[in-house]
């Protein structure tokens, strides 16, 4: 790392003009993050023409701010309204919404903001110090590795829930099936599209999540409208207590590392990181049954991890010229328009831009933390709004949000259908979480597996002989067999030496 260039970058960022653009960027980002649907990619696209007239470094600082600012905003609707705007905040809903129902929305949002700040900062430090190293690692992560990792993710999905394991499995299986809708990207064949061109690209994640979580919750609440109010009238503690912070500090630390490492992987890294961070916390918790019922670590871990992942997804863009997600693709485009080609030479050709953008993130995250802590107090008041008023507003937000993804009214109807399904699931005791997450991971598993088989020329042993995918698959077996092994050990201890069933599959416990 070039220390002088790094310090020059800081000098650049602290120029008043750049500070202003950084502030504007994170502010816009936070606002659009609150609105589900309208994501950072679309916002950057809309603001692109403005950047023609300003200095490239300032422009990119602002656009990057929109991207990571949006990560902060996304938490708010997940916790307060059960509306996860992005795949990576689905797991936040589990405990975040449960906390909100207990009147602890302020605690959840406060811890999420602090976790996001720590996660992002750890990730920027990583970006500053080891970006080129870790970028190389990301390249050795090919399709076999993605397939194995996402498979591990599906297993975690089925085990992180608290309810009935069988129902979680069924929901996950339906999610996997939904992931197959659309034109097959290998043969061009249509799958479950019913001759509709609208379905050729498959179903968008936001449409599914908004329907199952958001609309499903609205419908469910309509029934209970005459009963208890949405939340306890008094929103007790706005600030996380010292105890809450202490309880979540471990989760924040682990979430930062998991998020940073997995975020570097283009495609699916952010979802996997929040899922893995949540699963890790639940696994090491002394009382795992608290999870899903309002465990603060269950908010801290995924929110820290997804912000860390969002930040480390800059690594492939800035060091390899590979955009890891739609927003990064938009930033890639913006850089090209401004006359800069992101790629391996960027750090040498434009150190001012490289370090300017990275260092602006330190400051942008400080601004975001300073902004979000007081805002928590305002946002939690949303919960005091009567359901009769809040429900139609939420419905409007979801419809608007879904429309903005693809400018498609068709998507709105699909979302409503998923809303009905979500309502029925809630009535019958199925959780939407496993379904949504399996839906996201399903296409990664399938594409990864099929592409791997093409690369291996049809020989599946390749999955085990490659070091990284082999390790992940070993972890998969470990996670799958752990409960059985634990039960076995316990039985040994109590004296019974019946070892007739050492290989009980994980799902059947």
């Amino acid at each position: 790392m070039d220390v002088n260039a790094f310090l020059d970058g800081f000098g650049l960022v602290t120029e008043p003009q750049n500070l202003l653009y950084c502030l504007i960027g994170v502010l816009i980002g936070m606002l659009i993050g609150v609105l589900p649907g309208l994501g950072p990619a679309a916002t950057i696209a809309i603001l692109l023409p403005i950047t023609y007239s300003i200095d490239p470094v300032s422009a990119i600082i602002m656009l990057a701010g929109i991207y990571y600012g949006a990560q902060y905003g996304g938490t708010i609707t997940s916790v307060l309204l059960r509306l996860p705007g992005e795949a990576s905040s689905v797991v936040t809903v589990f405990d975040g919404f449960a906390l909100a129902k207990q009147g602890k929305a302020g605690t959840a949002l406060g811890v999420a903001a602090i976790g996001s700040f720590v996660g992002a900062t750890v990730s920027i430090l990583g970006l500053t110090l080891v970006a080129p190293l870790i970028a190389g690692w990301a390249l050795s992560f090919g399709d076999p590795e993605y397939a194995a990792l996402a498979l591990l993710g599906v297993l975690l999905v089925a085990t992180i829930g608290n309810g009935n394991k069988l129902k979680a499995m069924i929901a996950a299986a339906v999610g996997l099936l939904l992931a197959t809708v659309g034109r097959d990207s290998f043969s061009g064949a249509e799958r479950f599209t019913f001759d509709s061109l609208q379905l050729t690209e498959g179903i968008d994640f936001v449409v599914v999540a908004m329907g199952l979580f958001g609309v499903g919750e609205i419908l469910y609440n309509l029934e209970e409208r005459h009963g208890k109010p949405h939340v306890p009238a008094a929103v007790a503690n706005i600030w996380p207590s010292r105890k809450d912070l202490k309880q979540s500090s471990g989760a924040i630390g682990r979430g930062s590392v998991i998020g940073f490492v997995l975020g570097v992987l283009p495609g699916g890294g952010a979802v996997m990181s929040s899922l893995a961070a949540y699963a890790a916390e639940k696994r090491i918790a002394k009382r795992p049954e608290r999870f899903g019922r309002g465990a603060i670590e269950g908010v801290a871990a995924p929110e820290t991890a997804n912000n860390a992942a969002a930040t480390s997804s800059f690594i492939p863009l800035l060091t390899l010229g590979i955009p890891a997600n739609a927003s990064m693709a938009m930033l890639f485009g913006a850089l090209l328009i401004l006359g800069i080609s992101p790629g391996p030479q960027l750090v040498e050709e434009r150190p001012d831009l490289f370090w300017g953008v990275i260092n602006s993130m330190y400051i942008g995250n400080l601004i975001l933390l300073a902004l979000s802590i007081p805002l928590v107090g305002i946002f939690v008041r949303i919960l005091r709004v009567r359901p009769a008023i809040l429900a139609p507003i939420t419905a409007l937000i979801t419809i608007l949000g879904v429309y903005t993804i693809n400018n498609s009214t068709f998507d709105i109807f699909v979302m409503i259908v998923f809303g009905l399904i979500g309502y029925l699931m809630k009535k019958t005791g199925f959780e939407p979480g496993p379904m949504v997450l399996a839906f996201v991971l399903g296409s990664i598993v399938e594409d990864g597996f099929r592409r791997s088989m093409l690369i291996f020329d049809g020989d599946p042993t390749g999955f085990f002989t490659r070091p990284i995918s082999g390790t992940i698959l070993a972890a998969f077996v470990l996670v799958a067999l752990w409960p059985a092994a634990k039960a076995l050990l316990a039985r040994r201890k109590t004296g019974s030496d019946d070892t007739s069933e050492p290989h009980v599959p994980a799902g059947h416990r």
């Binding site: 990619a41 679309a42 950057i44 696209a45 692109l48 023409p49 023609y52 990301a138 390249l139 050795s140 992560f141 090919g142 399709d143 034109r183 097959d184 990207s185 290998f186 043969s187 061009g188 064949a189 249509e190 001759d195 061109l197 609208q198 050729t200 690209e201 283009p266 495609g267 492939p316 390899l320 010229g321 590979i322 955009p323 890891a324 739609a326 693709a329 938009m330 930033l331 890639f332 485009g333 090209l336 328009i337 006359g339 080609s341 992101p342 790629g343 391996p344 030479q345 693809n406 400018n407 498609s408 594409d447 592409r451 093409l454 690369i455 020329d457």
Partner: protein, 331 residues
Amino acid sequence: MRTTTHLLAATAGVAALALSACGVSNTAGGGGDGEEYPAGNVEMYVGASAGGSSDLISRAVSKGLSDELGASFPVINQEGANGALAANKVAKAKADGQTIAIQNASLFAITPLAVSEDEVTDLGDFDVVQGVSRDDYVMVTGPKSGFTSLDDIKSAKKKVTYGTTGVGTGAQLSCGLTYGSAGVEAEAVPFDGGAPALTAVLGNQVDTACLQVGEAIENIESGKLTPLSVFGPERVDYLPDVPTAKEQGLDVEVAQYRFMTVPKGTPDDVKDAIAEAMQATFETKAYQDFNKQNSLTPMEIPGDEVVTQLEKDKKRFADLVAEYDLDLGAS
């Protein structure tokens, strides 16, 4: 001072009313007279997500058109089915030039070879107004593959894998035809767009890949990827040392190009207005810099020449695919 402000506000309000009234009468009476185009905002559909080269080109042209014609030309991303959804929007729109789209040649010349017949977008639903630019493909290989030229690949002892940017794309066709005509046993590995294909070839997950020049050029210049061939009719300005497939004795010529379309039956004066504004845009330095930055080659030919080229390409591709028995998809 206060009164003045109020007066100003009132005047502005009246002026705005008068202006909007003009706007209304324009829309009502317009259609035949070129001077009245555009009547309000013109929607520009793009069949790809924000950030890709199709999107960026539309945005660059959109900016030029609004500078030239005064109205706003908002770009609307309607991703899906290789661009067929956006194409449908334009095909079904009123033929008054208020709904337009820059479309990709691959949708008309290549995608039909990969999808079933009822999903094919018909060129007859559109009037082609103006050519825009050509986006060339390049075949690249990673440093550890051991290949340094197309000849190395021709004498490869093993089955070669090649990454493409998806089914029914020019990247798939150019790579596929290269291996087919060279008689090399090869396996296509389709990725979901250019970025993952680039990642895979950089990480040696696949031996070779066909990508758009703009996607690969930074890694070619920094020596992380070795270019083997380009597929245009002549060499690409941005990669002057890379020979074309034709130069290397293979009958493969594939390029992506883009052109402005309007609904069939749009009045000629509207089409002329768009074409003229586009040509004026092409003259601006900002647009020319944009082309260079994105490794695009101008292909600013009239609409009828674009149609001729499209029809020629469509037939040629279909013949080649049949000749080498290439399987692009489940057609």
